[in-house]
Amino acid sequence: MAGEPIDKVYVGNINVSARRARDLLLGKLKLGEVVDWATTFSLWPVHLLTSCCGAEFAATWSPRFDAEQYGALPWISPRQTNFIIIEGTITRKMACALRITYEQMPLPKFVIAMGACALDGGLFYNSYNIVKPWEVVPIDVYIPGCPPPPEGLARAILQIRKSIREKKLASKWLIEGWRPDKKYVTPKDDVCKWWRP
């Protein structure tokens, strides 16, 4: 190699190399399963407490129920999380904040809607100032109840882990660029037009 310019790199055909690398990683080494396995044990929810279900959220991570045993740790910044638990009512101004938080999170990301208000309005079904969360972000698991007990939230986390492993949600979204159940989720795109400062 002596005497050659150091800025030259010999890679051959880059498309062939990329295809070979993809076949090796996805076919032989089964990288997708590794991604799914790793995602199930690192579902970190972001702190987005909007309503009274937040009390049950706190109880779920308390020592008695200890949801951290599933690898879920509530974290501050949306840039370092991949999981939103919508706790209850979303008002029209909060819908914009929810959508911004969702857009800030890195792929793959999952959403749980918790409580009767997040399902269909609940107590505030005829209020002028709430939105349904499924109009704002795509939702994976719903938990009924007003409020749901901590066992319900723990079971929803187990359910989302199961569907990630079975449907390969994380690996297809991350490696192949699509999500198996993406066609069922149709959030609105203009949520932040509702709130004009």
């Binding site: 101004k93 005829n126 209020s127 002028y128 100032n129 509702w194």
Partner: protein
């Protein structure tokens, strides 16, 4: 301080401004004219009622008026700390306008007047930042806490519409 002596003091300090001084379930309510409300508030502040606990409004559609009430109380005079004095103004319902009391009780009325503005459509002249606080702009234009804004109700029996008394 008993309510009787407070009523005497308030009557004395307000002079001819008070149209009506009444006790309503443990607090003292004073009704004044819209033109005199700033002077009346300054006189109430001069006896030690130095802040406002809440600003609220009531809609009377049959009498075609909106009554805006300021609940004033005190942090500085010890005998006035347990007392609430309501300073009320009657406004016409089709164009409710009154001078803002932010020049008198500055910090404590700022966001509460914004709240009355967005829910009842009362515009406060002289308020520096009159825009909706909790609602979005489209809902604030509908004046949602007035009595003629009806929300959809779910009836007990299916197919039978819900009726208000």
């Amino acid at each position: 301080m008993s309510l009787e002596s407070l009523a005497e003091e308030v009557k004395k300090v307000l002079g001819g401004f008070a149209k009506e001084v009444a006790w309503r379930k443990g607090y003292l309510e004073v009704l004044v004219e819209t033109a005199n409300v700033v002077e009346a508030a300054e006189k109430l502040k001069s006896i030690g009622l130095d802040h406002v606990k809440s600003v609220t409004a009531v809609d009377y559609p049959k009498e075609s008026k909106i009554r805006v009430t300021y609940h004033a109380s005190s942090y500085s005079r010890e005998d006035l700390m347990g007392v609430i004095v309501g300073l009320s103004v009657d406004l016409p319902r089709d164009n409710p306008e009154m001078p803002s009391l932010i020049s008198v009780w500055d910090g404590s009325v700022e966001f509460q007047e914004r709240e009355v503005y967005e829910f009842f459509g009362v515009s406060f002249k002289g308020h520096p930042d009159l825009r909706p606080l909790l609602l979005i702009q489209e809902l604030a234009e509908k004046k949602v806490l007035r009595k003629d804004f009806i929300v959809k109700e779910e009836s007990i029996y299916e197919g039978v519409p819900f009726k208000y008394d």
